[in-house]
Amino acid sequence: MRSIAAVNDFVVRFANVNGTGSASANNMFVKAIFRMGLPFSAKNIFPSNIQGLPTWYEVRISEKGYLGRRDDIDLMVCVNPQSLPQDVKSVRSGGYFVYDSTKILHPEFVREDITYIGIPMMEICLREYTDPRQRQLFKNMIYVGALSMLLDMDFEVFKGIIADEFKKKEKLIAPNINAMELGRNYVKEHYEYPLGLRMESRDLVGDSIVMDGNSACGLGAVYGGATVAAWYPITPSTSLVNAFEKYANRLRIDKETGKKKFAVVQAEDELAAIGVAIGANWNGSRAFTATSGPGVSLMNEFLGLAYFAEIPVVLTDVQRSGPSTGMPTRTQQSDITLAAYASHGDTKHILIFPANPKECFELQALSFDLADRLQTPIIVMIDLDLGMNEHLSPPLTWDDNRKYDLGKVYDAEDLDRLAQYGRYLDSDGDGITYRTIPGTHPTKGSFFTRGTSRDEYARYTEDGAAYVRNMNRLLKKWDTAKETVPQPELYQEGNLHKEGIIFFGTTTYSALEALDLLKEQGVEMDAMRLISFPFSKKVEEFVAAHERIYVIEQNRDAQMRSLLINELEVDPKKLVRILNFDGMPITAANISGQIMERKLKD
């Protein structure tokens, strides 16, 4: 049997039991990779359950810096008897299987083509520790220790991480290091190390940070000036609002009084959550809510109100696998159609697609400017993968000279200057009209906001002509939005090839890797990453400039492709579907495979 040999380029998967504190141990493993200067990607594959069911943690180390998922598992660390049968199967031929050898492995699980490394983790724990809780926790540190030995990882780095980790509980430092050593020593005594799989320190991560997208969005909302957050708990968006509150409690407390310069309301449901956000924005505060698919469905009526009454509001949709409750702990990009056209009647909404934590931070913050500028809902579309997994990301930056763009708002002086104020008068010809905030002026500028048809002076009307004028102005505003929203990212100067690929959000990592895979097979194409809907001239030009474009997305019905066809009036034949919707992040091999398959058909 030939065992796999690789340096800084392989996939390790941990099989744990949900709710046994394995997360922190696994995180240390990843932190160590990071501090050894190696690019990685880590995916939590967890059940919709609180305790007891199998959960996996998958880590890819990539010297080349590929941050997408890769399918085959080179090394499996199985600490969960319940999932052991499938875990054994999932190791690639030539791979390694690390397991708790306290109980001997049943013969039926012994494969000829992989290497087994048994570590009697429970046995060691029973010997070393008495407190059952300790036994569970340190068991995790033992396998991390063993791994560090097997994979030739820098133990000093681990010591540093443990020291940082327990800064506040110093007496936990030694025991944790000791637990790791138990694992390291067992390996020393019983196995040849390192394995064919090894890590070598490099300097490849520069000043990058490690952060999950939800935390970045939450922090972005703090920087973007959000003062009101209303939400209802739902996986995978819960941690976004939690992060906003955490950071706000740190950065938004009034020095003198200790009072809060923000308000977080846990609403009774999603209808109320967006209602609160709309009410606050209407009244001049920057407010937002965050949810996932089911919540967006419930927010439909309010989104239509905000579109038609032209009230700014920011909504972040952390997408999960639908429809309905679907697979609530799996990822997908499948709320696109709903978000783009949410609510009855003729409506269109602005969507923003961050692709990494840095963008989550920047675009979440920017969304408040966009909402105020365009006076309409801004829907930030991320997904479970970006929101809940930790990603290697460029550091966050903020220009201290930046001013919030509050959009077109008349203050008291403006109103005194005006002969007559018309809330829906398109005085600038860009489709965007001037609003006033309650409390501005005792006798001028007040108006009545409503979801019913009204004239330029916000007066109720059933006059068809006035209605049509207003609906057409909203289209004009839509055109203005196209060039106001963040522009797409192009990955080449000009267009070099006949074919192109379009992708967005978490599809980016694997799409870029796929370009390399294709190149290896002699296939080259141009690439564009969408960041916003509606699509700007740039997007239109890219599509026009290519004979065929592969649209890569993570849903069944090619929802983004439909938006491109509808809004750009493109011939569908030109846009090829490249899809993955099994709830796991799409891989580069999958993308390049589908593209090559399609090309063979030609």
């Binding site: 809060k260 308000a263 209602g275 209407w282 505060s285 009526e301 903020w398 309650p438 007040s446």
Partner: protein, 350 residues
């Protein structure tokens, strides 16, 4: 079609402390049916705000959908208004209130808007002791959709089409009490003397103030057999107390017999004199209030008056510990931590 009134100034019109006349508190001409109870309530709101000298821009009107929810167009034309979606006024009001704690929020709803589609939001805005005046124009039916029974229609009440309602009526005052509301009143659109001071008290109250106003629908629910008709209400109404509202600063002129009256100081310094109280009945005693409501129900009486008040409570802002300055008045300097703080965060993420 909303008609804007010719608002030529009558110099001789009486002015309030702010120099505003009653006209400055009126709205567009009502398009409701002639005789609709809701119009009387709009009038009472206008009168109360005029007399309290509330600067029009210091008050915001919020409503859901329905004939009742249309009324904000017909009063306080110089105040901002928001006619939102059906049953969701409480959440919009919550957001507005969080954005600026300094304004007065006048929430107007109907029995359908509140007791049916809006029940969840109503319950939770009570629970949060949101600082709003919450007026339910209660006609026991869905006026705007042509008179279907609402959830506040009494068992056995006969609809215009002659059918008797068989479902339990929801008593919003009793419900609010059970949920911990801090100000609960009931009144009748036909009783301005009672309604106007009650609205003033509700405006002065710091916290959630519910006023359930029986407001007959002349077009769809004013027939004999209906328990929300003008006639029926007039015959079955009783009052728990009479309210005198004494603005901050002014002093109390009236004296009332011991045990039959109660004086309360409200959050904004105004005084409330409740008199003609039933013997040993204290509007601060929640359980007694519930008892009275239930007794009245048994006796088929419509009990009106200020049924319960807890004059000093914590509203949502107090519970959330938000700064005193309105959140919508905070700017970059106060909101954005800047690059310095961000650098530290980056550090912590390596």
């Amino acid at each position: 079609m909303t008609y804007v009134k010719p608002s030529f100034r009558h110099p001789e019109l009486p002015k309030n402390d702010l120099g505003f006349t009653k006209k400055d508190y009126e709205g567009a001409i009502s398009t409701l049916c002639g005789g609709c109870g809701h119009d009387s309530i709009s009038g009472a709101i206008t009168q109360a705000c005029f007399e309290m000298s509330i600067a029009p821009h210091r008050l915001a009107k919020l409503s859901g959908i329905g004939c009742s929810s249309k009324t904000p167009t017909y009063f306080l034309g110089n105040s901002h208004g928001f006619n939102s979606v059906h049953g969701r006024m409480p959440s919009v009001a919550t957001g507005a209130n969080l954005a600026n704690r300094d304004l007065i929020y006048m929430g107007v709803s109907g029995d359908g808007d509140t007791a049916s589609i809006g029940m969840g939001q109503f319950v939770h805005s009570v629970r949060r002791n949101l600082n709003v005046v919450y007026i339910v124009m209660n006609n026991g039916c869905y006026g705007l959709t042509k008179g279907q029974d609402s959830a506040t229609a009494d068992v056995g009440s006969i609809s215009k089409s002659g059918v008797a309602n068989s479902f339990q009526a929801i008593d919003l005052t009793a419900l609010a009490l059970e949920l911990g509301a801090t100000f609960v009143g009931r009144s009748f659109s036909g009783d301005r003397e009672q309604l106007i001071p009650m609205i003033k008290a509700a405006i002065s109250h710091h916290g959630f103030a519910l006023i359930d106003v029986i407001s007959p629908c002349v077009t769809f629910n004013n027939n004999t057999g209906s328990t929300k008709s003008y006639d029926y209400v007039r015959e079955h109404i009783t009052t728990a107390d009479v309210i005198d509202f004494v603005p901050p600063g002014e002093e109390i002129t009236m004296e009332y017999a011991e045990g039959t009256s109660a004086d309360l100081t409200l959050h904004d310094g105004s005084m409330l004199q409740l008199h003609k109280l039933a013997p040993n009945w204290d509007p601060r005693d929640k359980f007694a209030a519930m008892q009275r409501i239930h007794l009245a129900r048994v006796k088929q009486e419509i009990l009106t008056g200020l049924l319960y008040i807890d004059p000093d409570t914590e509203d949502l802002h107090d519970m959330l510990h938000t700064v005193d300055k309105p959140l919508n008045a905070l700017r970059e300097a106060e909101l954005c931590p800047g690059m310095g703080a961000l650098e530290l965060i980056n550090q912590s993420l390596r």
